[in-house]
Amino acid sequence: MKPPPFAYHAPATLAEALDVLAAHGADAKVLAGGQSLIPLLNMRLAEPGHIVDINRVAGLDGVRIVGSEEDAQAPPGGRTGGKGVRVGALARHAAVERSAGVAAVQPLLPAALRHVAHPVIRNRGTVVGSLAHADPAAELPAVLAVLGGTVEAVSAAGRRTIPAADFFTGPLESALRPGELAEAAFFPALPPRTGVAFTETSRRHGDYALAGVAAVVGLDEDLRVSTARVGYLGVAATPLVLDLTPRARQAQDGRPPGAADWSGVAGYVRDHLDPEPDIHAGADYRRHLAGVLTERALRAATADALDRAQTPGVHDEAEW
């Protein structure tokens, strides 16, 4: 379990990094946290000729709340127009997980990050690296997908912004092109009167989930459930998003504000999923589990939404 020979590049600037990536195209791999790439190399499952270690490139480790006053000073390309969290390519999971600003703007991020492997891995691994690795069983792709976030890609030829819906193209496959670096990811802020929940079942604490659910539930001005979106991990070739808004209205129907009845959603979810079996669990179980977890997550997200709507001071945007 030693990697085959490769050329190692340690550029000091973004421009240098992009030059190396442009020169070697598909034969180059970007090394950020290395928590997936290094095992792949050691097991000789990946044999790139060039490793481009971006850890020395300045300015890529930012975790910024954008769409606020602070964002006015952001460099060109760092702005996205909307409010949210912009995570640079070298920002470690742990930095995002522990950021009070992130928790206030998009609490789904820390909620999901707590399920990413173990603290030592989160200290090294990066959020953007996890997205670029595009493992459909990983937490962050599902979070980006359910929130409708974007990935900012940069290459010697220029920059482009890729919506989550277009970014994940298959298992371990993304829309990034040879020569491109995922420079940052943007996670939109949580709108008012909205709640989130993340839940997953894994064989061991910190393992990839057998199935996992990221739920976002919105209330209207009367605090009645009006929208529901659920992102799934571990049940499809790419992160899957179900818009359960029609089911949300049904769940709220005839009940007091915020007291939606989500039972029965599991059956709907099971009918809309077609997971693959693997050595850890069969397709039937995963489908069943996704249904169970959806109900749990929707209940928790509804409670969270109600809580946020009723105690606006605590979650006030001004705190940004």
Partner: protein, 809 residues
């Protein structure tokens, strides 16, 4: 204080500061400048080798040598030894160090590459082209038994051994029994999986014609014997040292591994240091697994649940070769009986070849399977009769006044299976009390009111420990008063440096801090058996005690002369020999050490001081006067047969009604390993064992596909439990001394792992009201079991949670 209180005290492990601060010296920490070996291993489960083409590999800069079977000379080219033959093993087969013509499992070594470093060795290995003609692979116990294809052409039916154990007329007993049950049980493969893999590092000294080998082994003396024999070297020219070893759990008792012959052979041939450090992927496919069995049980019993006849037919998967013989089937079929006296008994174990990694003992060594069988049987009987599971066990227990108890079988040491001592009813009473067995129904009702599903389970075992034939100890006190203890068996982190020091300190009357312990180094002790079968404390502990007693007697003889006293009036306190009741008439052991050697150059202060006690004034006597020089002693302990420890575990689990996850809420252990040398270390052994047991019960399995590929050969997919999966473990001890050895101790190393699968199965079955007949049990397994039980009433228990729920409605 006299040091005697040191025995039985929970002193901290003396090896921990070194091991926990990164100061340990493991195999791969040695030989930094050595050449590295890597192996080309078979990607096929079963194939004929047509051609090996090394041409492309020759371009790799830094390549030193490539070897295939054709290159091996003399005895190195022969099949590896069948270590433990047995009359039942009629068709034992072992592998060649490098495959000759045919490979029989994925991972079997085909070629060895030696290069400047491991990276280059792997580069070269990846360029060697081996042309294979794939043959049909035999995977899985039942496919092996069907024998549509053979693993070895000359082994009909894939049957390596048929082992039978029998007492009484089991057919008649079952026929006459008021109740008879028949069922099948399954246990899947797991593995020892030490965090440090195997490894060998060899240095040839051409001037001296000698070889020094470091191996991450559980049996350095036997590795030495094997290397000496294979390479044609006198044993005195081979030294084998086990450095710090990062866990063994059984897999490192196998010897010689192919690599343990090939690496020293290459080192001598090349006259260069060569090192091989196994990586994790190699360990999965080229070391050893254990556990896999299918058991068919037929049991007859009376209205009380007393077992009148038990007939077990076991299919055991031993993998592609049998270097370690039939030890696991022997242990399973004898230790299955546990703490019970049952009527007639017959066990037939059919040990089968498959195209998978070899199967050799892993902590528990066949006992977890035997205990699973017996304890599942006890639960089935209780369920059938509608009786309490603990009560059914109680009526079958051997009573305290029945020891020594002869089970009428032959144990793994070839001696009668006679339990030396124990108090099983007391163990049962204690575990019931610890877990709250009798008040559990109230707890279940409280949980049910909250919508939670919980269950309780129990498992009992007896463990033969301290198997012979012998182990030795050497104790030497030097002229600075330090005590050097050596024993030949090896350490893999158990705490031998601590407990052996405690034993020596207690026997000699010296502070434990003054004792240094060396294990597993043939330079210090040449005759030993090894560390396995929970034998180190019993075997080397007693040998060290006996050796220390010799040294103590000698010290008293010498001191008596110096003090002009009767040796019987002397005792040793804190390293000083003195007249009982008169501390002024004293001589320290360091001075006695000087006196013990008539050659007394005064090169240190101690020697100068010793002259005031000058001994041997009688000019007519030779200076040694019948004694050997030096304050040292050596002795061996050789037991007539094994000593039998016992224990009982209980657990309370919660099963998630929706996700089918199993959570262990409480886990309790009552354990009796005779006199405790160090309760803290015994507790640690139990905790580690239980953790491995939980791995086997809920997480670990080797997933082979039908072509013999291991699909989960990594720590990402082979699920060893983390600390987060292990509950707090509550323990209590009974101390029933063994009458068989001077210290009254029994082994404790494997105990923790043995009954865990049985206990968890029992508890999950109780929570769910669904029969659990195979382990491990994943959430998916439980989910499918629930679905099947909805349709199939025979899968549901009569008593327990389901019955209670049904009664309530």
């Amino acid at each position: 204080m006299g040091g005697t209180r040191v025995f039985g005290e929970p002193i901290p492990r003396r090896e921990d500061p070194r091991l926990l601060t990164g100061q340990g010296r493991y195999l791969d920490d040695l030989g930094r400048d050595a050449l590295a070996a890597a192996f080309v291993r078979s990607p096929h489960a079963h194939a004929r080798i047509l051609d090996i083409d090394v041409t492309d590999a020759l371009d790799v800069d830094g390549l030193v040598a490539i070897y295939t079977w054709e290159d091996l000379p003399g005895r190195v080219a022969e099949p590896l030894p069948l270590l433990i033959p047995h009359p039942s093993l009629t068709h034992g087969r072992t592998a060649y160090p490098l495959a000759r013509d045919v490979v029989r499992h994925v991972g079997e070594p085909v070629a060895m590459v030696v290069a400047r470093d491991r990276y280059l060795a792997e580069d070269a290995a990846s360029r060697i082209r081996v042309d294979y003609d794939p043959l049909p692979a035999v995977v899985g116990i039942e496919e092996a038994a069907r024998a549509e294809h053979l693993v070895h052409d000359d082994v009909p039916g894939n049957v390596g051994a048929v082992l039978e154990q029998r007492t009484g007329d089991v057919d008649a007993a079952i026929e006459a029994a008021p109740h008879v049950l028949e069922f099948r049980l399954d246990i899947e493969r797991s593995a020892s999986m030490p965090l440090e893999g195997r490894g060998v590092y060899a240095r040839w000294d051409a001037d001296d014609g000698s070889l020094r080998v470091y191996s991450s082994t559980q049996a350095s003396t036997s590795v030495r014997a094997a290397i000496a024999a294979k390479l044609g070297l006198p044993p005195g020219k081979v030294e084998v040292i086990a450095p710090d070893v990062g866990g063994g759990f059984g897999v490192k008792i196998v010897h010689p591994w192919p690599e343990e012959i090939l690496v020293p052979w290459a080192a001598r041939l090349l006259d260069r240091e060569v090192k091989w450090t196994e990586d994790r992927r190699e360990h999965f496919v080229a070391a050893a697994h254990e556990r896999g069995q299918v058991q068919h049980v037929r049991v007859g019993f009376d209205d009380e649940g007393r077992v009148l006849g038990l007939d077990v037919r076991i299919l055991h998967d031993h993998g592609a070769y049998t270097p370690y013989g039939v030890i696991i089937p022997i242990v399973t079929s004898t230790q299955l009986l546990g703490p019970y006296k049952i009527g007639a008994y017959r066990a037939e174990v059919v040990s089968l070849y498959t195209n998978t990694v070899i199967v050799t003992p892993y902590r528990g060594a066949g006992r977890p399977q035997g205990v699973f069988c017996m304890e599942r049987t006890m639960d089935r009987i209780a369920d059938h009769l509608g009786r309490d599971r603990a009560a059914v066990r109680e009526v079958n227990l051997i009573r305290p006044d029945e020891f020594p108890y002869d089970q009428g079988l032959t144990f793994q040491d070839g001696r009668p299976l006679i339990y030396d001592s124990g108090d099983y009813p007391a163990l049962l009473a204690r575990i019931k009390e610890l877990i709250g067995w009798d008040s559990f129904e109230e707890e279940r009702a409280r949980a049910a009111a909250e919508g939670r599903r919980i269950g309780i389970g129990l498992g009992c075992y007896v463990e033969g420990t301290g198997v012979g034939p012998y182990e030795g100890g050497h104790v030497e006190i030097d002229t600075s008063g330090r005590v050097h203890v050596a024993t030949g068996l090896t350490s893999q982190g158990q705490g031998h440096e601590t407990v052996f020091a405690q034993i020596a300190a207690a026997e000699l009357g010296v502070p434990v801090e003054d004792v240094r312990v060396t294990t597993g180094d043939t330079r210090r002790f040449g005759y030993a058996v090894g560390t396995f079968a929970s034998r180190a404390a019993v075997m080397s502990g007693n040998a060290i005690a006996l050796a220390a007693r010799k040294v103590r007697e000698k010290a008293l003889r010498i001191a008596a002369e110096a003090l002009e006293a009767d040796p019987r009036d002397l005792e040793i306190t804190d390293g000083v020999v003195h007249v009982k009741g008169d501390p002024s008439a004293a001589v320290p052991l360091r001075t006695v050490a000087v006196l013990s050697n008539p050659l007394r150059y005064a090169f240190d202060e101690e020697a100068q001081r010793a002259t005031q006690f000058a001994v041997g004034g009688d000019a007519t006597e030779p200076p040694l006067r019948g004694e050997e020089p030096g304050l040292e002693g050596r002795d061996y302990y050789s037991p007539v047969r094994s000593t039998f420890a016992a224990g009982m575990h209980a657990a309370i689990v919660e099963t998630d009604p929706d996700t089918a996850e199993v959570r262990i809420l409480r886990y309790a252990v009552v354990h009796d390993c005779g006199r405790l040398i160090n309760p803290r270390i015994v507790e640690g052994q139990i905790h580690g064992g239980v953790a491995q047991g939980i791995g086997g019960a809920l997480y670990e399995r080797m997933v082979y596909d039908e072509s013999g590929q291991l699909l989960n050969a990594s720590f990402m997919d082979f699920l060893m439990p983390y600390a987060t999966e292990i509950p707090r473990i509550e323990t209590a001890h009974l101390e029933t001394p063994s009458p068989l050895n001077p210290l009254g101790i029994k082994g404790a190393g494997e105990a923790g792992v043995i009954p865990v699968s049985a206990v968890i199965a029992s508890a999950v079955e109780d929570a769910e009201g669904i029969r659990v007949h195979s382990m491990p049990l994943s959430p998916d397994d439980l989910y499918r079991l629930r679905r099947r039980a909805e349709r199939d009433e025979s899968l549901r228990t009569r008593s327990g949670a389901r019955a209670a729920r049904e009664r309530a409605t």
